[in-house]
Symmetry: none
Subunit: 67 residues, 2 copies
DNA sequence: CGTGAATAGGGTAATTAGGGAG
DNA sequence: AGTGTCCTAATTACCCTATTCA
């Protein structure tokens, strides 16, 4: 493997997450605002989501308690 | 374009499944609750159903009676 | 630096969940 | 046992415009 690997996680756009859950992109935004989904913001304010987390939620795997 | 397509299984809303089966959405919910139909939950608690599974049932795939 | 698509906002209808009774 | 309907509360979908993304 390469010597240096920038720690980059695969991110998903709101539209992609919405498609996977069969919901409206706005709904994904509400989940992020409600703290149900980890959101990473671009410098312009747009949201990106962790693919691993989304897949885990879809599979029905309970997310880790942050407590 | 690269492979920017997260493997997402086509899902159906309760209303869509109900229409396909010619039943009330509440009935579809009962099927899901009874485990007769695989249901995927949104983060808000709403159910989504696998299109492949629904179509298989509609297509008339023998349920392989165990008797 | 323009162009077209996507997203963030906010507000208002439409679905859905859940229980209960017929 | 299985289904359709009534109810309330919660969640989601569609409307708009301005901003950001690619």
């Amino acid at each position: 493997m390469s010597t240096r690997t920038p720690e980059a996680e695969p991110l998903l756009t709101p539209a992609e997450v919405a498609t996977m859950f069969r919901v409206d992109p706005k709904t994904v935004t509400r989940w992020a605002k409600a703290g149900k989904l980890t959101s990473i913001r671009t410098l312009g304010g747009h949201r990106r989501y962790r693919e691993t987390e989304v897949r885990a939620l879809l599979t029905g795997i309970p997310s880790q308690r942050t407590e």
